[in-house]
Symmetry: D2
Subunit: 198 residues, 4 copies
Amino acid sequence: MSTVKLAIPFYSTYGTNQTMAEIAAEAARAAGAEVRLLRIAETAPEAVVNSQDGWKAQVARAAAHPVATPADMEWANAYLFSAPTRFGGAPSQLRAFIDTLGGQWFTGALANKAVSAMTSAQNVHGGQEATILGLYTTFLHWGSVIVAPGFTDPAVFAAGGNPYGYSHTQGAAFDDAAKAAIGHQATRLVTMAAKLAA
Amino acid sequence: MSTVKLAIPFYSTYGTNQTMAEIAAEAARAAGAEVRLLRIAETAPEAVVNSQDGWKAQVARAAAHPVATPADMEWANAYLFSAPTRFGGAPSQLRAFIDTLGGQWFTGALANKAVSAMTSAQNVHGGQEATILGLYTTFLHWGSVIVAPGFTDPAVFAAGGNPYGYSHTQGAAFDDAAKAAIGHQATRLVTMAAKLAA
Amino acid sequence: MSTVKLAIPFYSTYGTNQTMAEIAAEAARAAGAEVRLLRIAETAPEAVVNSQDGWKAQVARAAAHPVATPADMEWANAYLFSAPTRFGGAPSQLRAFIDTLGGQWFTGALANKAVSAMTSAQNVHGGQEATILGLYTTFLHWGSVIVAPGFTDPAVFAAGGNPYGYSHTQGAAFDDAAKAAIGHQATRLVTMAAKLAA
Amino acid sequence: MSTVKLAIPFYSTYGTNQTMAEIAAEAARAAGAEVRLLRIAETAPEAVVNSQDGWKAQVARAAAHPVATPADMEWANAYLFSAPTRFGGAPSQLRAFIDTLGGQWFTGALANKAVSAMTSAQNVHGGQEATILGLYTTFLHWGSVIVAPGFTDPAVFAAGGNPYGYSHTQGAAFDDAAKAAIGHQATRLVTMAAKLAA
């Protein structure tokens, strides 16, 4: 009997963050959570998306998952966000979704939930820390309880050592070290969320 | 003979940041800069905008200024951004514009320019610092040279003392203290940009 | 029977943050926590401290509370830090204490604890947000669970609206609004810590 | 005839940041700057330092360079800081030096100078971005003009791609890629500082 209802909203342009979200979803379910894996709606013009084969293909792949809605954010008692960096910040697609949550925020429907985030970038130091920390700043406005991995498991070190959240370098393989780090972050979030929801 | 070409891209939902941008534009022109006052394109659905009278009215008011484009960002050798906070980050409308600048970034067309930012929020401490610092993080990716006001003039103290950039509390009057602080930030940016462009 | 053992380490140069810590301690005890109110050791040279009457007097006043030690950090299962801003960061005295915690961090003795922070500055926007967010970044390295007030109570708005943690403008009175905001932050931290410790 | 007077204050526990500072100093001198390479005074108790052979040896090695003073900060018209990360923030030794600069700040003696920073950590993502961005936040209080490398040279990508400032992973060799990235950051800083000082 699960008390944790975890929303995993992801935005992915070429697939990296969708894969991260799927790995996290599997680990969270194994830890007993009820999971909604949710794609952030694309807001770029269709012509722009279609002009890049990789982006177009990803839009089709992401369509397997439902679009994240404010109602999902009310339903969940824990959130795990996954999105690439854009110049050290979250993509506008994710910020656009966040901007629609003013009503939920105002009524307190986002408060007191355990939250974590993951990201990716082209370079090893391409804004991964800044992107995750910027999202946490936003979540503090919601009254979220921030549950980052820290260095609470050797898997964090093994995957590059980002204590704020798992960071993937685009193009790198999702090897066992990557999966273990993502799994640890998701499992820890579920553990903490279960305590907070008790 | 001005060497400073200043783009002032603003996003404004109810008018506060447009007023800030206009005050800054006037000060920058007085300091000798050639100025383009540019509205960030609205990306919210028209039905959402029209459902709020204040927002709808602001869209009409902002239409007096041209929409910011990547070409404006290439033209300018200095930028002054003005946008409200959204949960401690910039609005998705501004992030959407920023996300379109990948091509300019890649060719170096955004590099080595003097940049500053202003913001507003409903509360005195409602994310103003975080919003400006988050934008500066993004501008560092571009190779921008960050020119914040610091405490380089008594006008900064008199207007509340935000060293990162002018912050307006929504609904407060644009009194002489506010105008002086905005004017100082804009004038200082022009001064530094002129040196960098020399 | 309390499960929450709360350490409140404070650094105070002229008394503001000691008062904040004392108000928080009272609220936390009322919420059922066992509290250790702890002063951060002064690291400035004695001659410098003694050259300023206000600083010297505060050192004497702070002596009523024991010095924070790494053992206190192991004992507690929740932390509430209070310290003024120094150019948008925490004072070196507090950073010096934090720098001694490498051993506790390495063995995991700091992990999984609920943590929050408060600050003060001379100006309304003088780095309060940045100081608290910078401390939270550090706590994420420890595997802390960040419990900021957000906007989870009207007391936050009434006291200026800093969702990251209570911020005092130096010299302002500790009126009912200030006490309510500090009390809410402390009580919420105890509530969450009790859940995490259960 | 150099117009750039560059202070390079470094703090180094085991030698990494001293080496980085020395590489930067050489590049800055080659670019025409007058350079003061300055060690940040050790503030840890002598017994603690002496209990670790590596730390003790570094204190001896650093003694070749003069201690940074507030007078050096007045003398210089550009600063390049180098210090390791401590839980995502600068070491308390550096913060202690920064805390002594209140007088210089108050009189404006720190304002309008070009500033940049470098760091190191044990892990690839161990707080490097956060440490540099936290320092830049502090420098904004001074009225500094922030000159980070961005992605203004292929050397940044080749060395791991940190646009905020060069980041070294402790223990890695200072190979040509590292030297080129440090050299680019220092040279760019000197170039911008020369323009600002003209």
